[in-house]
């Protein structure tokens, strides 16, 4: 699991339509572990999509990754992911399938959501929750936005870490 300032794990994962994606080649990259059925992930979802929309002009990709065990949790199946994408719920956000769970393990992801911000060099600069309160949409992913603003401006995010809040990642037995 990388610490703040360490190189973030690289990966190549397919999105819900089969196209491959990897982080990098951007001034900052957001990697967020999420899923289909967790109320915390769903409560924060629109705020994360809004970040993707608002920072697209600054070249920041947001990659959403579903690592949950879809055998025990069928609502996290690739088919269910595809359905959400086709309904327009992931506008501007590739929704990636981490079938082996290797990427979640490499990042030390614990919850859905669990947010990571990488800088242009691929170093981990922020990890944690999108903002302080899943119940309050006006928080507007403030932690994530502040971290992106700092990285894009060449500063250290403050805070650089917050406790991730959400449902546990559903690991395979």
């Amino acid at each position: 699991m990388p610490a703040i300032g360490d190189p973030a794990p690289t990966f190549t994962l397919p999105d819900a339509a089969g196209a491959m994606h990897e982080p990098g080649g951007a001034p900052a990259t957001v990697v967020v572990f999420t899923c289909n059925h967790c109320p915390y992930a769903l409560a924060w979802h629109e705020r994360i999509v809004a970040v993707a929309r608002d920072y697209a002009g600054r070249g920041v990709p947001v990659l959403a990754i579903n690592s949950n065990d879809s055998e025990r949790y069928p609502r996290d199946s690739l088919q269910a992911m595809r359905a959400r994408v086709e309904q327009g719920e992931f506008e501007g956000v590739p929704y990636l399938r981490d079938e082996s769970q290797d990427v979640a393990r490499a990042y030390g992801a614990k919850t859905t959501p669990d947010v990571f911000v990488l800088d242009a060099g691929g170093l981990l600069r922020y990890r944690g929750a999108p903002d302080a309160d899943y119940e309050d949409p006006t928080q507007n992913a403030a932690f994530l936005r502040a971290a992106l603003d700092a990285v894009l401006d060449g500063h250290d995010p403050d805070p650089s870490q917050t406790p991730p809040v959400g449902c546990s990642i559903k690991w395979k037995a």
């Binding site: 059925h37 967790c38 109320p39 915390y40 769903l42 409560a43 025990r72 949790y73 069928p74 609502r75 899943y134 119940e135 949409p137 449902c167 559903k170």
Partner: protein, 86 residues
């Protein structure tokens, strides 16, 4: 419970540890709140299993817990039914 004039100690907390327990208990996720055995938000085809449950607050927000107003309403309904039975 206290607001409704009931003993808060009457709340029974039960942990569901395994998938087989979830199947047996018809448990669709945490938290599930049953009053006199009746789920305050009856599942709508949700699969049984160890997972988090999605609730909708009355203002439409998604939440991991039910709207407190829904809990109060369910409690009041259960009290009325209990009174009618007795």
């Amino acid at each position: 419970m206290a607001e409704a004039g009931l003993d808060p100690n009457a709340v029974v907390l039960r942990e569901v540890h395994t998938d087989s327990d979830a199947q047996r208990e018809h448990f669709v996720g945490s938290p599930t709140i049953r009053i006199d055995g009746v789920d305050i938000q009856p599942p709508n085809g949700e699969p049984f299993g160890l997972t988090c449950r999605v609730y909708h607050r009355r203002d439409g927000r998604i939440s991991p817990t039910p709207d407190p107003a829904d809990v109060r309403e369910s409690l009041a309904t259960a009290q009325t039914k209990s009174t009618e039975r007795n």
